[in-house]
């Protein structure tokens, strides 16, 4: 199994060529501000756009293979291609091997130099004033997860481009085999979690609860195992409809009783599995098959859902659960963090994880855009990523201080195509209002 490593990511669209990263690198690595000595090089121009010449820490690095002195090695630990000054003979062959100008002669020392990610705290990243550089540390997830067993069979029957399979596999790998999984009617069993006609997609005990009683059934399971002294995780992967509408009572009851359950809601904002009908989590203005678009009567056209979405995770906060968090598959690192905490919390009480999960089919966007749509939802503050514990209160985990206009999110999909300017301003207004509301809770937690 291949390893994954932390990496410095560059968003060309955000770079204005200021060169602060180069100064920071040169300062950190050479003690001079001479940008030519920086190991990160911003190239290009304002006209053509800026790009990066920076070691990508290749998996199959040419510089390493051409080095005659064994001075370059790829660390299996960090993934960084390490340069050993004591072994290097200054032959420069590596600069010929690398096609990306990522190892070059440092005239100041006469030796080659390359990025070593500053041992995991790259100086360039915080120096960028425009967040064009980020240090992606998801490697831990992939490496650890890669070693854990995938508890779903290969080939679940999800829609093309759906991220729920990703979520299911990751979540199950993380919780591990000592788990009983409840997947109430919806997309998750639709994908084959419980299976069809005698074959199942899951390697751990799994069942369909009713749409209405997921939390209650899990409570019974968990309690019985506790009674006999066995540690078994009780996990639900449920849809928003079953959780916020018809299953809300049992969810609320279990939360109030602080049952030791991890309840994950995959919020695709509607009854997508049954043909994309409205749920109470469907946002205002959205087309669904039960809030269709039409010319209406008396000059009142039907323009999608006329009410705002219920904010289920905030309602769960008001149950004072052991842990409540929102997450997004566009931010797996954040999600993993929360999954870890939710699992721990579920050992003592009710843990609730609300994952915003775009639906390619029901929301009407191209199948390769799922993660992008999920990301836009966060970047516009249409949804917010936060977590709550009774001790620390509510805290943002990825605050977006400079949100994009909500239209950036809305225009990414077909279900909002019909929106009138009034509807759009209603939605933008709600985004602001929701943000203010959550901020107030954060504020209270700080106070």
């Amino acid at each position: 199994m291949g390893r994954s490593y932390n990496t410095i990511a560059f968003d060309a669209a955000k770079c204005d060529g200021c060169g602060d990263c180069m100064t920071a690198c040169a300062t950190a690595k050479t003690g001079s501000e001479d940008q030519t000595r920086s190991r990160i090089q911003i190239v290009g121009s304002a006209d053509d756009g800026f790009e990066l010449a920076l070691c990508r820490q290749c998996g199959d690095p040419k510089c390493v293979t051409v080095c005659p002195a064994a001075a370059l090695t790829k660390s299996t630990e960090s993934g960084v291609i390490e340069w050993d000054a004591a072994k290097c003979v200054d032959c420069l062959l590596c600069t010929i091997g690398c096609a990306y100008a990522s190892i070059a002669l440092d005239a100041g020392t006469g030796h080659v130099a390359k990025c070593d990610t500053c041992d995991g705290a790259p100086a360039c990243v915080p120096a960028c004033p425009h967040d064009a550089l980020t240090y992606i540390t998801t490697a831990r997830i992939y490496n650890e997860v890669g070693d854990w067993e995938d508890l779903f069979a290969p080939g679940l029957a999800g829609c093309q481009g759906c991220n729920t399979e990703l979520l299911m596999r990751h979540t199950l790998r993380r919780v591990g085999p000592d788990t009983v999984l409840a997947t109430p009617p919806g997309c998750v069993p639709g994908m084959g979690s419980v299976g069809f006609n005698g074959t199942t997609g899951t390697k751990i005990p799994v069942f369909h609860p009713l749409l209405t009683n997921t939390a209650a059934m899990l409570a019974g399971i968990k309690r019985q195992y506790k009674r006999v002294g066995r540690e078994v995780n009780a996990l639900a992967i449920a849809g928003d409809g079953g959780a916020s509408d018809v299953g809300f009572q049992s969810l609320s009851g279990a939360a109030e009783r602080n049952e030791q359950i991890l309840f994950m809601v995959v919020d695709n904002e509607g009854y997508m599995n049954t043909g994309m009908q409205r749920s109470s989590c469907t946002p205002y203005g959205a087309w669904t098959s039960t809030t269709p678009i039409g010319k209406g009567s008396d000059g009142m056209p039907a323009q999608g859902k006329t009410q705002d979405a219920k904010n289920l995770p905030l309602i769960m906060v008001n149950h004072r659960c052991e842990y409540v968090a929102t997450a997004s598959t566009a931010y797996m690192e954040d999600l993993y963090d929360k999954l870890d905490k939710a699992i721990e919390a579920s050992k003592v009480g009710f843990a609730y994880l609300h994952v915003y999960s775009p639906c390619t089919t029901g929301w009407r966007f191209p199948t390769d855009q799922n993660i992008e749509v999920a990301r836009k939802a966060v970047e516009t503050n249409f949804v917010m990523l936060w977590e709550y514990t009774p001790g620390a209160g509510l805290q943002f985990t990825r605050p977006v201080d400079d949100p994009l206009p909500v239209t950036e999110y809305l225009k990414a999909m077909g279900r909002f195509r019909h929106l009138s300017p009034d509807q759009i301003s209603h939605i933008q207004g709600k985004v602001v209002e929701n943000l203010a509301f959550v901020k107030q809770m954060v504020h209270q937690a700080r106070a």
Partner: protein
């Protein structure tokens, strides 16, 4: 309320038993405690409430070792138990009327999953009209859902049957949920002398607990519980069909198991209850009346009086209502020429009592016409008195010679 005679012809070795005075709901709770369930889930509703209060108190006092879940509604009550049962727990709850109606979604499913959950129905009439009083309408409404349903006549029978219900439910040939029905008001609150079996004796009677051998949610033996079946062809529908057929077979098996368990109970504890159908003074009877539940006490008194007055009348009591004990009933019917059936609920579709309708179905197999009529009484807590039963006896007697009326007789209509 009338107490019935406890017939104990085979009182071989009466076990050491404590005698107490208690109401039916408490007797049920004591029976539950003796059966040692792992988990009890509760939600209060009149006239069941004192039953779960008794259970809660028994647990609180350390007289019963079970996890109690105060769920937020009956729907979750049964759902919690389903989960627990799938994890290997012996489980119990009680409900009635609107609670049972609210529970219906998981209720239907319990028998399909073959979970041996025991649930008392402290029977209550159906609303609307608004009422919080006894009547069999709740239990009758769900008689077609694959639960075994037995009706008790006395407080003692409530206690004993509650224990037996676990053994019946968990029998490997049955594996079905069981409702122990006790009449709201009349049995729930009726206080009488009760013999309390010894815990060790009950333990010996119950044997080893093994409730999820057939279906489990257990990481040690992972399985997918209840995958989708069905469709228009191939393996899907046939899987479903075999499930259903198995459920029906379990129901039929339960008739035998109920008899065996009652027999064993009688052997161990010296109390013998007719397991399926009780024949009361049928020998030499030309006609009979048919009863269900606590009304039977008054009915038996009326029969005794009528006999003394020279009427050739007997009584048939149904204990096991689901599955319907056709063979046992026909054996009794063979002895008589006419039958009056007293129901404590209505069958809206046939304009008669539901038990009457069931009886008519069985009757077809008798191969002989037996004139019969339907009486409906005791709705919404109304008392069916000895006097009422004399009216029933009189009307039934006429059937031997006169044609049967098309309409049912509503006993409490003008009380």
């Amino acid at each position: 309320m009338t107490t019935a005679t406890v017939e104990t012809p085979n009182q071989t070795k009466p076990a050491k038993q404590k005698v107490i005075l208690c109401e039916g709901n408490e007797a049920a709770a004591l029976g539950v405690a003796l059966a040692r369930p792992d988990m009890v889930a509760v939600y209060p509703i009149t006239p069941q409430s004192s039953l779960v209060e008794h259970v809660a108190k028994l647990i609180a006092d350390g007289r019963m070792d079970a996890d109690i879940v105060d769920a937020e509604g009956e729907h979750s009550v049964l759902s919690v138990l389903q989960g627990a049962a799938l994890a290997g727990a012996r489980t119990y709850t009680a409900t009635c009327g609107p609670g049972l109606a609210f529970m219906f979604e998981p209720y239907f499913r319990t028998s399909g999953m073959r979970l041996p959950i025991v649930m008392s129905i402290v029977t209550r009439d159906g609303i609307t009209p608004q009422s919080v009083w006894g009547g069999h309408q709740d239990a009758m409404t769900v008689r077609e859902v694959g639960w075994v349903q037995v009706y008790c006549e006395t407080v003692q029978e409530v206690l004993d049957t509650t224990i037996m219900a676990f053994k019946i439910a968990e029998h490997h040939d049955v594996m079905l949920p069981v409702n122990v029905c006790l009449d709201g008001n009349y049995l729930s609150y009726g206080t009488s002398r009760v013999e309390l079996p010894d815990q060790a004796e009950v333990d010996a009677f119950m044997g080893v607990k093994d409730v999820n051998w057939h279906v489990a949610l257990d990481p040690l033996r992972p399985m997918a519980v209840d995958p989708l079946t069905g469709g228009s062809g191939g393996k899907g529908p046939s899987t479903f069909v075999r499930y259903r057929k198995g459920q029906c077979r379990g129901m039929q098996n339960s008739l035998r198991v109920i008899e065996e368990v009652h027999e064993e109970w009688a052997q161990r504890f010296g109390r013998r209850f007719a397991p399926l159908v009780e024949e009361y003074r049928l020998d030499g009877a030309d006609y009979a009346i048919m009863t269900l539940g606590s009304m039977t006490g008054a009915a038996k008194d009326a029969i005794d009086e009528a006999r003394e007055a020279g009427k050739r009348v007997g009584l048939i009591k149904i204990k096991t209502f689901s599955p319907f004990p056709v063979e046992a009933l026909l054996k009794a019917m063979n002895k008589i020429q006419a039958l009056g059936v007293v129901d404590r609920s209505v069958g809206f579709r046939w304009n008669c009592g539901p038990m009457y309708q069931e009886m008519m179905g069985a009757l077809y197999r008798l191969g002989r016409h037996v004139p019969s009529m339907s009486f409906i009484g005791g709705l919404a807590g109304a008392d069916i008195t000895v006097g009422h039963f004399h009216r029933v006896i009189e009307a039934t007697e006429k059937l031997v010679t006169n044609p049967a009326p098309a309409e049912p007789v509503w006993l409490n209509e003008r009380d």
